[in-house]
Structures are given as C-alpha cells and as structure tokens.
C-alpha cells in the first residue's frame, strides 16, 4: 500500500514535470506575446525592449533552463499582464473554482446516484423515463444557454436571485445548478446502466432471501457493486470542473481558474499558463490517486 502510494506519487511528479516541459515548449509554438501586449502601433524598438525585459529574446532552451532554475527556488515567474507573481495569481483563483466544483460534483453525484438507482430499480417505469428525460435534457443543453436564460428568468424576470457575482449564498444557486447539469445527466445514465446489471446478480437474490429492506438491497448491495464506473466518471467530471468551469465563471463573474487559464492562454501569458496548469494538474493527479485508492476500498478484489 505505502509502496504503491510512493510509486504513484513519484510517477505523478515525473508526469507533472513532463507536462510542464511539454507546456513550456508547446506554448511557445503558439506565437509571440509581444504583439498582444504592445499597442498595435508600437515600434520595433519597443517590441525588442519588451522581449528583452521578459527574457523572450533568449533561445528557447535557455529560457527553459532558466525556468527550471527558478522552479527549484519555487519561483514560478511573473505574469506578463498582471504585474505580479504568476503563482500568486493562480493560487488566488484556484480555491474559487475548487469550492464551486466540490459543491457541484458532490451534489450532482449524490442526486444522480439516488435518481439513477431508483430508475434502475424499476426499468421502463414512468419514473425511469422521466428521470432519463430530465437528466438528459439538462446534460445536452448548452451551458451558457441555461445560464443566461436562468439569469433572464430568475434575476431579471422574477427578481428572486442576483444575476451574478459572489457574496451571499443566493449567489451560489445558479452557478451550482448550471455546473451540475452535465455531471448529473451523465451520472444518472451511468448509475442506471451499471445498476441494471448489478441488480440482476445472484447476490441480490441472497439479499432478498435474507429479507433485507428494498432500499438496502438497492443502495447497499447493488449500488456498492456498481460504484466503480460511477466513481470514475464522477472523478473525470470533477477533473473537468477543476480544470475550469469557464462558462459559468465568466457568465457569473466567478473569479475562478478556468477563465484565468483561458485568458492567459489567449493572451500568451506563459508564466500564468504554466502556474495554473501546475496547480490544476497537481489537484488532478491527487484526485486520480484518491480515486484509485477508492477502487480498492470499494472492491476488495482490487489490490495494488
């Protein structure tokens, strides 16, 4: 176990370093930032000065070595746009995203497990059909569509909720809801599917023969046996949220890392790109290790 963890951690660290290297070189293939930072009418001289100032005039391998050297001293570089440490920028945004992602994923997973299990318990029933329909409509609706229409209805039309922004709990409702839609829809389907197979297993007969209550059969026995794919898919969805819920962040003015990452990619703010990727990648690698450990907890036949 411990040795497995150690191995996993070292592999992951290597992968993150590989990732950063990859990102370092690849981002530099996407064009020169000076064109974006300086006004269109600035002179060649100004551009040269800009490149010199930001070390962009050096050969790329020198830049990379410099980056590595700084990295060892935990210096992640300066943001070109924001005039401050790139890591500080990333770390400021990340918790905002994380909060939202955790709430949305937890809620949607819990809800999806409930709805999906009940749908699978009576396949073909009205509940099953409605649950599928509702969850799928939510999952396939364009997220900005739901977000903007939601704002138009609940904030402008009814005046029940604030349009956007952060602060009170009311500010959480719409962003969380929009974020939950897709995970919920996907998870309901996955839960339903795997539960159907699980419910047909012989050990469910044993449980019935024991006289277990229905909810215990469904949630205790069948669900437990079908959690592996559910956990995986939920984990993947969590990853994509941790990686940034761009639409929600930008529409609702939630200062998260997704928008930051997109902006800095488009603006070629390389140091920030690197730092945000470092932060999210670390989170994602930890999440994936946790999920793998969870497999072993969920299914005793799986051992590492």
């Amino acid at each position: 176990m411990i040795s497995y963890l150690g191995r996993r951690a070292s592999h992951s660290i290597l992968s993150v370093i590989g990732l950063l290297t990859l990102v370092f070189f690849l981002t530099r293939l996407t064009g020169d930032p000076s064109a974006l930072y300086l006004p269109l009418d600035s002179t060649a001289e100004a551009r040269a000065a800009f490149a010199r100032l930001n070390g962009l005039d050096q050969p790329i391998h020198w830049q990379f070595l410099g980056y590595l050297r700084d990295l060892l001293q935990l210096d992640f570089g300066e943001s070109l746009r924001q005039n401050r440490s790139a890591m500080q920028v990333a770390l400021e945004a990340f918790p905002e995203t994380l909060k939202l992602a955790v709430v949305a994923i937890t809620l949607s997973t819990a809800l999806a497990i409930l709805v999906g299990s009940l749908a699978a318990a009576r396949p073909g029933s009205i509940f099953d059909r409605i649950a599928s329909l509702v969850s799928l409509v939510g999952a396939s609706a364009p997220d900005f569509w739901v977000a903007i229409v939601g704002i138009l209805i609940f904030a402008v039309g009814l005046g029940l909720l604030p349009t956007s922004g952060t602060g009170s709990w009311a500010h959480w409702i719409m962003p969380t809801f929009v974020l939950m839609l897709r995970p919920f829809g996907l998870l309901v389907q996955v839960v339903r599917g795997t539960m159907l197979s699980a419910l047909a297993s012989p050990y469910i007969k044993t449980a019935r023969a024991k006289g277990l209550p229905r909810q215990k059969i469904i949630f205790g026995h069948a669900l437990r046996n079908s959690l592996l794919p559910v956990v995986t898919v939920a984990g993947d969805l969590a990853t994509s949220l941790v990686n940034g819920a761009v639409v929600v962040e930008s529409i609702f003015g939630w200062p998260g890392i997704g928008k930051l990452m997109i902006d800095s990619i488009i603006q070629r703010d390389f140091a920030v790109v690197q730092s945000t990727i470092l932060v999210t990648a670390t989170a994602i690698f930890i999440l994936n290790i946790a999920i793998d450990l969870l497999y072993a907890v969920l299914d005793p036949r799986i051992r590492y």
């Binding site: 176990m1 050990y203 019935r208 024991k210 277990l212 209550p213 215990k216 026995h221 299914d299």
Partner: protein, 546 residues
C-alpha cells in the same frame, strides 16, 4: 404429521418466457412440510428443484419467470401475492434459504461477517457488537477455522466449502421456521458434512425447524429425510415416507436412483478405474507451496496464510489421481496453481519435462491446450454474455487446429449430448440453467479442447446419481480411449473409490496420506483418513431406531 403443516405448496407451475414457446420448469408440483420435519427433494439435475423452492421464497424474477398456477400456504398465510413488506419480514427470518452456488450468491464486496450481521440487523434482532459476536459464534458452529479473524474476510478469500458454510450460517442465523437448503453439502468433505448435518438436526430439535433439503446425495438424503419427494422433468413423480421410498421405490427413475445407492459399499464392487497405466510421468509436482497474503482492509498490514504447504506428487499418463481432503485444505489452490492461474509461493511442477511456472508465450499456450480445468464454481466460470455454443466452442477458437469451423456446431451438440444435455441448449445463456446443468456445460467445455490432463474440481458434485454415473462413464471411457489423465478433486468418497486409481488425502495444506485406491480404502493409515471413511452417514430410520 400433517397436523402441524407449516408450508403447503399446491399445484405450482412455473414457466420461463421468451420470444418462443415458454419453457416449463416446474409442472404442477405439490408438497408440504411440517414443523420439525425434514422433506428431502431428490431428482434429476434440471428437474425443477431449485426453481420450485425459489418460488416459495419469491426469488424467481417475474418476468421472465411466470408463475402459471399454484399456491404456497405458509403458516396459514398465502405467500403468492404478498406485499413487499410482509414478504420481507418472512424472508430470512421465518423462511431462509441456502443457495446452490455459494460464490455467485455472496456479495463480493462485503466481508462475510458483514453479510451475516446484516441478517440480524435487518430483522432488528441484534446489532453492532452483539451481531458480530453472534456471527463469529455461527461461523465457529459451521466449522470455519479462526472465525474471529475470518469474519472480516471477503468471499473470494474462502474455499468453496467454506463459502457454502458461510451461506449456511447466514441462513440459520435467525433460526427460521423453515430452512430451504439447496444442495448444502456439495462442497463439503464427509466429516465436515457430518458436522453440518448434525448442526441442522440440532436446530430442528431445538426450534422445531422444518427443513426442505434438496440433495443429489442419497446417503445424505437417507440420513436426514422424514419424507421424500422425487422430481423428474419438472413434475413430482414420487412422494412418500423416506424409508418406504428407499425400500420400495415406485417410479422407474426412483428405482434407478436407489439401485445406485450403496455405491461402492462393497469393497471392490465394479469400478471404472484404469486398467492399464502407461507409466510415463505426465506431471511431477515438487514442494509446491502457496501463501495467501491476508489484508482485510485496504490499509492494514499483511499477514500470510499457508494454504498449500510443501506438497509433492505426480500424475502418470492415463492415470486418475483423486484428491480428497478437508474443506479448505488447499485442493482448489493446488489446482489453480497447476493451471497457472495463481502464482505459487514456492515449488515447481514439471509437465512433459518443463516447469509450468516458467512457461511463457507459445509454450504456455501449448500447455494450456493440453491441460484443462473444470472449476468448482461453474456459474462464475462462464461469461454471462456468451451462449453455451460460444462457451463450448471457445477452445477451438483459441486453438485453431483442434477442429475445422464447419464441424463446430455438430461437435457442440455431440458434447452436450455426452454430458446429458440437449443440442438446443447451445443457444441458451448460462443463467438459464440449473446448477447441475451448468456443471455439465463446464465439463463439456473442458472436453472440447481434447486435453491430455483434466483437473476436475468438484466436477460432478451437483449431479444426481444417474447423471453422475453417465458423466463418470464418459470420463473413464475417454481415459481408456485417448489416454487422458485426471486430477479429480472431490469430497465424494464413493466416486473416487470408483474412479480414481490413486488417492491423495489433504488436510491443512499438506498431504497426509497417499496410495493406491484399493490399498488406501482397505487400510487407511492416517487418523484423518480413517475418520473420513467412517463418517459415512447412516439412514435416519436406522439411527432413530437405535
């Protein structure tokens, strides 16, 4: 005894529906059982025993099952059409069931302890520490070693017989009014079987439990039954007081069964042992050892358990080596290692001059073609998504040279007939068969690849005597004709005596005794062997008379 009748089944008819004509599994079956009484259901494999008892428990999925007719009156209550909640309070507490295929019927992700405790908790009988203590006590009573540790193990960490006992423990936890035991001792050696049967009898005495026991084992039947019903082709063909059925069977099927009863009682009755053993050593096992690493939780530290402890033996071409031994003594572990499914902790096994454990790639492939296994859990060993046709023909897909494709269909039909099934069964899926039928499919599959050595792990344990005889004849015939060798793991002494040339007795991971069949049966040296031979159950009417 019908004055205290607790369960009365009347005119039960069950169909299995599909696109085609419904399959009638149970046809107008009636029986009843009283408090304290034991009703034994005998019958051919696939005759509807399991289905009719499952119906009593409401465990047949409807649809595709279809209860065409019939009533089940339990303690004055009509069971069919009972509400879910009422049903729940009866199942497990008042009527309990032991299933035929213990691995599939245990939830793989919960410890056995948890699964037993659940019975207490869900009926509000006991919870927390109390439930756990009771669970450990139960496990001890069914003969699980070190129950206080084993309670936290998962089903896959138990041997076949141990799982069966876990199942039994679960069923008797709440001392039900009726216990339906579907082949409860198929994986138990004679001594453990005796212990379990005693336990059941004790329970009956203590609580007046009615016992419905399905078995293929006539000795067990005789030792337990008050009354017997015999089923064939979905119908009850004979019913009566045990002693009368045994002494004066009416139906031709029953007669055939009873005729086989004192199987191998007489010391050297006609047997199917090899006549000529070629003498060339096919398999030589040396110092084979297997440790299982035990970690009950994901994080707890490891302990090891010695399941197989330095054993050596050999098998010669055309020979049958019988392995008998205590349940949990490591028989299946040996088999799995020989097949290369589990890595041994130490030792080697030389097959045709080469160590199995060093084999790789092509050689391993060639080896696996020559050695086949019939698994102890036939249900689990078949892919639920594959039809029987694909299951049996799979070896030919893997080893292309065995049989040209155009002959597969005919050969599958032939194999199915050899093991007593119908060619049409090729189109069905594993879940559509009875326990014994699945076991026969597994045998057919093992035969399909025309191997040199077949490892049979309790391969005929769920078959009734008539089909058992048919299968054994088939195996013996193949041995004579093709020079096949067998490693025959079984708990059934009459069968090994009848079929095996040499016998190896295992206990606690070691070989305690080994020798030619006749010699070993004639003069057992080791205490354990002696106790095995003596543990043959006696008919109930005799023991009661004493």
């Amino acid at each position: 005894m019908s004055n205290a009748t607790i369960l009365k089944v009347e005119g039960l008819t069950v169909d299995f529906l599909s696109d085609d004509q419904p399959v009638r599994a149970v046809d107008d079956v009636s029986f009843h059982v009283s408090r304290g009484e034991t009703l034994v259901i005998l019958g051919e494999s696939g005759s509807g025993k399991s289905v009719s008892t499952s119906t009593v428990m409401d465990l047949v999925d409807c649809p595709p099952g279809d209860i065409v007719a019939g009533s089940c009156l339990f303690d004055g209550v009509e069971l069919s059409g009972l509400g879910a909640e009422a049903r729940r309070s009866i199942n497990g507490r008042r009527i309990a069931m032991i299933f035929q295929d213990p691995l599939a019927y245990l939830n793989p992700v919960y410890t056995v302890g948890r699964q037993i405790e659940e019975v207490y908790e869900s009926h509000g009988a006991e919870s927390g520490k109390g439930a756990r203590a009771k669970t450990i006590e139960l496990l001890r009573r069914v003969g699980i070693p070190e129950p206080q540790n084993r309670v936290d193990f998962y089903p896959h960490q138990f041997s076949g017989g141990q799982r069966q006992r876990v199942m039994i423990a679960m069923a008797i936890a709440l001392k039900p009014d009726i216990l339906i035991a579907d082949e409860p001792t198929t994986a138990l050696d004679v001594s453990v079987q005796a212990q379990i049967l005693d336990l059941l009898r004790d329970l009956q005495r203590e609580t007046g439990m009615a016992l419905i026991m399905i078995t293929h084992d006539l000795e067990v039947a005789a030792s337990m039954a008050d009354r017997i019903i015999v089923m064939n082709g979905g119908k009850v063909v004979e019913t009566g007081i045990a002693r009368e059925v045994f002494s004066n069977p009416q139906h031709p099927y029953t007669r055939r069964l009873i005729a086989a009863l004192p199987h191998g009682n007489a010391a050297e009755a006609p047997n199917r042992r090899s006549t000529a053993i070629a003498g060339e050593t096919l398999l030589k096992v040396e110092h084979l050892t297997k440790h299982y690493e035990l970690a009950s939780g994901a994080f707890s530290s490891k302990r090891t358990f010695k399941a197989v402890d330095d054993i050596s033996f050999e098998v010669r071409r055309g020979e049958t080596l019988g392995i008998v031994g205590e349940s949990g003594s490591g028989k299946s572990s040996v088999a799995r290692m020989l097949l290369g499914l589990n890595a041994p902790s130490a030792g080697k096994a030389v097959f045709a001059g080469e160590n199995i454990f060093d084999m790789n790639g092509k050689r391993l492939m060639a080896f696996r073609r020559k050695v086949q296994m019939v698994f102890q859990d036939p249900y689990g060993s078949m892919n639920p998504r594959m039809r029987v046709y694909s299951i049996i023909s799979e070896p030919w897909v893997i080893h292309r040279d065995i049989l040209p494709k155009d002959r597969w269909k005919a050969r599958v039909a032939e194999l199915l007939e050899l093991v007593g099934l119908l060619p049409e069964h090729a189109e069905r899926y594993p879940h559509q068969f009875s326990g014994g039928q699945r076991q026969r499919i597994a045998i057919a599959r093992a035969l399909a690849s025309e191997p040199e050595l077949i490892v049979c792990d309790e391969a005929v344990s769920a078959l009734d005597v008539s089909i058992q005889a048919q299968v054994i004849d088939l195996l013996a015939d193949l041995r004579t004709r093709l020079g096949l060798s067998y490693i025959f793991i079984t708990h059934d002494l009459p069968i090994v005596r009848h079929f095996a040339d040499r016998i190896m007795v295992m206990k606690d991971g070691r070989i305690v005794e080994e020798g030619q069949t006749a010699a070993l049966f004639g003069a057992p040296r080791h205490d354990y062997t002696q106790s095995l031979l003596q543990a043959v159950p006696q008919p109930k009417w005799l023991t009661q008379a004493q």
